[in-house]
Symmetry: D2
Subunit: 350 residues, 4 copies
């Protein structure tokens, strides 16, 4: 019953097998092996166009270096006020890009288009002292388990483009969002105008596989230097490639995300049926936010469940009663129906 985070899961056996196979070979280092090249090709297929792909070690690196690729001196980046780049990366995006992250509010973890527009307007192009608008970054799926619809993505992108701003998508849970929407990778990104994507594999069955995917080749031009200077060029890069090869083969990645999402749906349904618990808000990815009686939460923890208590959003002060607690539950490719059902029955019994 490990619902603390999808990064508590191990690695999928197919990915692990591919890694094992790779371990017995010699091959060129620093991304120059045939495997590296073929996986790059695979990304072209997945996205139905030529893309530039660069592997890095962590999601924080993927976001930070993506933003570094579009860095402008004095630039500000607009992100949802609860975005990972603001709340959870210890300032790495600012450090690598030299830019400031500016929070934009919005319900359900999604940037509100009207507020984004107003925020950007506060940085007119000649306002030297303020700094200047330089990029918009959006998270798909969001930090709070919701998902931008294709139209919602398009609305955000259109505002960015009207202001000549490139758009970055933080796809740490890209596959979960994709499956939930039933969209193609192309539809959810460059066909809507996204310029650069953090494509996460770690949370969805790899052990360490994060890629930056450039749809805008202009942004990729200097990127080899940015990555190397940022200490993110693996010597044995092909071990990342090997993970991605297995991950992207025969729709494994979509199956894994589909499973995680289904487990979350099962959790949501179960919680909705409980007396001692309720959903805090609607989610559609592999994250579930629930209000539990403290008794249920304590019982679940005692019996071996792992999950995090979550801070009550400032905008929802009445969400949680005194004898209740807000928790986050994250499912993964490795979550089983038994895990879910056991957790629910513990809660029900408490």
């Amino acid at each position: 019953m490990f619902f603390a985070s999808d990064n508590w899961a191990g690695a999928h056996s197919a990915i692990n097998d591919r890694l094992s196979k790779e371990s017995t070979r010699f091959a060129a280092a620093y991304g120059n092996s045939e495997l590296d090249k073929s996986v790059e090709e695979r990304f072209n297929e997945i996205f139905e166009r030529e893309v530039s792909v660069y592997f890095v070690s962590t999601g924080t690196a993927a976001n930070s270096l993506s933003l570094a690729s579009i860095a402008r001196v004095g630039g500000v980046v607009f992100a949802h006020s609860e975005a990972h780049v603001i709340e959870d990366e210890c300032g790495a995006p600012d450090f690598f890009s030299g830019m400031r992250m500016v929070g934009v509010e919005g319900a359900g973890g999604k940037i509100d288009p009207a507020r984004l527009k107003a925020r950007i307007a506060g940085f007119p192009q000649d306002a030297l002292h303020h700094g200047r608008a330089a990029a918009v970054t959006m998270t798909q799926a969001t930090e709070t388990g919701t998902i931008y619809s294709l139209n919602e993505i398009e609305a955000i992108v259109r505002i960015a483009k009207d202001n000549d701003l490139p758009v970055h998508m933080d796809g740490a849970r890209f596959a979960n969002a994709l499956v939930a929407l039933g969209a193609t990778p192309a539809e959810m990104t460059w066909k809507r105008g996204v310029d650069v994507l953090s494509f996460g594999g770690t949370k969805n069955g790899c052990w360490c596989a994060e890629a930056i995917v450039f749809f805008n080749p202009e942004l990729a031009k200097e990127f080899a230097y940015i990555r190397k200077r940022s200490a993110q060029l693996f010597s044995k890069t092909r071990f990342i490639s090997a993970q991605f090869e297995a991950y992207l083969q025969d729709d494994l990645w979509l199956d894994l995300a589909g499973h995680a999402n289904a487990m979350a749906t099962r959790l949501r349904a179960g919680i909705g049926a409980l007396n001692s618990a309720r959903l805090a808000w609607e989610t559609t990815s592999n994250e579930v936010f629930a209000v539990l009686s403290k008794a249920s939460a304590d019982a679940a923890k005692e019996k071996g469940s792992a999950f995090y208590d979550w801070p009550v959003p400032l905008t929802m002060p009445d969400l949680v009663a005194e004898d209740e607690v807000l928790i986050r539950l994250v499912t993964s490719f490795a979550t089983t129906q038994e895990d879910v059902d056991q957790f629910l029955s513990i809660c029900a019994a408490a």
Copy 2:
């Protein structure tokens, strides 16, 4: 016959098996699992004292963040003029530490103590405009295949300490040096006064396992923030730990390095016996630098050998005749006697 670099090898089967085993489990992320803790303990045993250990993704990260931990504004770091931190990391050490690397010459890839002393003297403590001496970094084994003796390490450290400078050791090939010297990890580091170590596992049988080991706890105090801000905190850290667990078990790491060194010795002996080749200079680790007739080098490449031509050192202008070429050969845990012998016989036949 892959002698291009030790990072062309795959991963050792014991390390791979340990990874596979790890892949089926859930565990806490970000270095908080029991495995992470137990491997940290293992480092204490290996170094015969309490140390602070932090994993990072690349050797460049290990060096750059080590130096960031001892950063001083306006600081300069003294390194051999051919050191990896100067020649091969695209400025990452400067970027992360905010300091400048100052090259110190020295024969055989090793810092010359007298020159180091003179160089440091050029940065007296009150010389605001010059900047100030802040650290010494030495590479063990060196970039040119040589190894500092324990006395030579001590001589460098003593000069550093006389000037209140902390000492960093770049141990990308730490195990190779250790085995060649027949010393213990403690003897080659903190017992000589080294403060912080880049402890490399990737070149010696892991697929991605680099650690920063602090002997000076003062330097480690802020390091958790330095690493996270530098985008080097893996979520599934335990997969690094798993590699190190197998690597450090039953002296595997020393056996692997011993094998690589032995293969280099075999190469050296074979080359010494050839008419069409000779050693460029003496080496004692797993790197061999040889002058080959172009005919031999071409034949070797044609028949499937991989190695790099090497630039002729400015200090050895007469090393290579017109119909010759300087090459670097690197052996690894995965190099076989057959590889070596086949390479030698091709050269002999050319």
Copy 3:
């Protein structure tokens, strides 16, 4: 009728005369002349204790380098959400300090203590991913013309100290605040617990005289290097010293600020008596924010008045009617009664 900003004024004649006198002499460069030393002593007297004083070229530099002196990796600095360090310095504080500025709301341009406390609590000391609380900076007088009382300063500082955070004061209009409060420099700073101060002279009669004053000697220890590395060490530093010598002599600086404040008071009184204008909010320094009929504002501009239209605060959406405009008027040592009265009569006539 130049009310655009106090930095539109020239330099006071006494300061100019002192500069002229200095221009005929030779003296040691880089802050080593006797004049430099004696002005440093003068700061000790002004603040009734030993302080460390460093001159820099701009207010932005004073703030940015003050924060650089207390930089922590992954650190966040709490400032009022409309503070100069957030809104008007193009990211320089982030660039020089490597830290992020986090806005705290509060009425009247002043940090709200309860919100500050809540904000700091969001960065507990072990919350690696969030970053960590590192400093509080407050502006005295504020960007909106208000002034923290001594008790209000103390309240903010106490919260900072309870969290082990150093406190910086942006005193670009330090003298205006001091005179308005009738306090001593010591009372408004270190006696309340302020650790480092941006002490501005430029807006109050100097042409370029900004100092960083350290009350906490620990923060000053590395500062000579920070300043030099930041390209802020003047060779002919004594020309800054000369300005400060005249500025601080015989209370000139307090007289100049007193005059500017008095002119603002006269403006406020006059505007309060007009039909076509009203004060937008209460101010007590040399800044006045007024709502004017567009007719008045246009007439004033046409007849040679210089001032800036000001964005209506988001928190005061009903402040300004459709045929009105919010403006900022700033007085200085060089503002005359005639300027004020002429402006008022133009508005009255419109």
Copy 4:
């Protein structure tokens, strides 16, 4: 007898008078006054073409921000190994540009073209690990008192351009070099291919007047943001403009430099005629390097001369006998014949 540096002199009376006049006026801040605009025009005339001019506070800022304007990630900048950007700016050029300074040797303080070519060749465009060649910077007049001829400038620039590298000129003593060569500003800069110039006024009669002059408009495009973010935008910029207006009027700047150079010539001639002293090497600007008997040097200091002892260049180990000392003498606009003659007679008498 102040020969310590040209920055020990005060400010020329014409420049001071212009400043005084400016002090009584109001004018727009941040470079938007009419005076600012007219001085920008004046630079166009001086350089016989349209240029972009930006004022900054120090020579270190001028160099550092010039290099920041041509910054490339992973970039290296080639400079003479004794250049100010390497030896005397505490790492500021590296800090602001994010690039590394790579020293190139050369006799007489001038970059040796052949060595420059070889050094650049060490950074081929695809050599990710090394970093990449990004700029060449040359100092005119050099740190050792010599001057590049127009042909020598052209030779350096041609090598840079053959490698697609922009060229920066550090002109802290631009006027001294110009007068010594009898060239025009255009001939010594953009007509030879220089892209950006640090144009120094401080050492030649201003009290604080440093400009960055862009001949390549592409480099200037982002510069307003670079300067502001670097805390180098003066609010009362017009006080810099006022200095430059007087400086550039009626050839004052050339007259002042001509005087300083003439005083240096007088010094050189006098020293050449002494028994107790000799020139260390030939110089042609306002710097003189001399070997004095210690007795002479001591006598001169005792009787009020100010000058610096200078480290003996490593390439000239036999330059100075045991009872001798190498000193640097710098003349300025404010040096008088009497100063020179008195110094010489003290040396002669010792």
